[in-house]
């Protein structure tokens, strides 16, 4: 048994080392981080809205579910230093959503139930880099993990993957969000360890 255990951990460590950004450690569970109470918005009242385009765009839950969706398997990296490999999601690509809105913006500010916000450059959420995810591991996304829907931007620290997202506003300026306005990095690239202001 000890030999099997050592062999298993050794292979895993070797296989995952090039997938672990600096300063991160692997977890097998899915830690829950919350800056406030978990909202429980009924799906009948849920909408997703894009503001700031030529015309406001909004979808009900049923309309959003009817949009083309994708399966995504990806690694995620939290700024609190845990990383989780091969997480499985389903959601709507931001490429799909932004193609439905006429705009000339360079940035977005995501807004959520509970008041959380986070900012993102559009170049970091287009070309297959970001989704509005509503399934995790083949099941509807649980409220404590951001359900019914959350942003998924796996190449940036996970505070950018806003839980309980209800839409975003297209903007010309990169307006700092909830954490970015109080110490956390404006972009948050885990491979560059962009955790705090000045990193």
């Amino acid at each position: 048994m000890p030999q099997i255990s050592r062999g298993f951990h050794g292979r895993r460590s070797e296989a995952s080392s090039d997938r672990l950004p600096p300063g991160q450690h692997l977890v097998d569970d899915f830690p829950v981080l919350s800056a406030g109470p978990t909202p429980h918005t009924p799906l009948a009242e849920w909408t997703f809205t894009i503001e700031g385009g030529a015309e406001p765009a909004s979808w009900t839950w049923e309309e959003f579910q009817a949009l083309p969706s994708e399966e995504i398997t990806t690694d995620i990296h939290c700024v609190t230093k845990w990383s989780k490999l091969d997480t499985a999601w389903r959601g709507v690509s931001l490429d799909t959503l932004l193609a439905l809105v006429e705009h000339d913006a360079d940035y977005l500010l995501a807004f959520c139930d509970g008041g959380y916000t986070t900012n993102l450059p559009l170049e970091h959420v287009t070309d297959g880099k970001a989704w509005i995810a509503y399934d995790y591991d083949g099941e509807p996304l649980e409220p404590e993990h951001g359900g019914p829907a959350r942003m998924l931007v796996p190449h940036l620290y996970f505070w950018k993957s806003a839980k309980w997202i209800r839409g975003f506003r297209l903007q010309d300026e990169d307006e700092p969000g909830f954490w970015e306005s109080n110490g956390y990095h404006i972009l948050g690239d885990p491979w560059l360890e962009q955790r705090y202001w000045g990193d």
Binding site: P37, G114, S181, G183
Partner: protein, 87 residues
């Protein structure tokens, strides 16, 4: 569940003493949103976020955000309209 993650202001008593130099849990503060006036111990605190978040127990307005890293502390008090500190 979120309710189990919610603590009260006593949970950050030590951090507040470091930042303000005085015992803060008994200090009254006013919410900049709803105007509720409570001792800091009577707030809702969330510690398991990327930073510390202190919310008004009455309206859930964010009163205080504390982020600590790289040898610095960022302190946002913009959700409070006042703090009544002892001399």
């Amino acid at each position: 569940m979120a309710e189990e993650r919610r603590l009260d202001g006593n949970a950050i008593g030590g951090v507040m003493i470091e930042l303000f130099g005085v015992e803060m849990t008994t200090v009254p503060g006013s919410c900049g949103n709803c105007g509720a006036h409570e001792q800091m111990a009577e707030t809702d605190v969330y510690l398991d976020a990327p930073g510390i978040v202190v919310r008004c127990r009455h309206c859930q307005n964010v009163l205080i955000r504390i982020v600590r890293g790289n040898g610095r502390t960022w302190l946002d008090l913009s959700g409070l309209s006042s703090l009544e500190l002892p001399l």
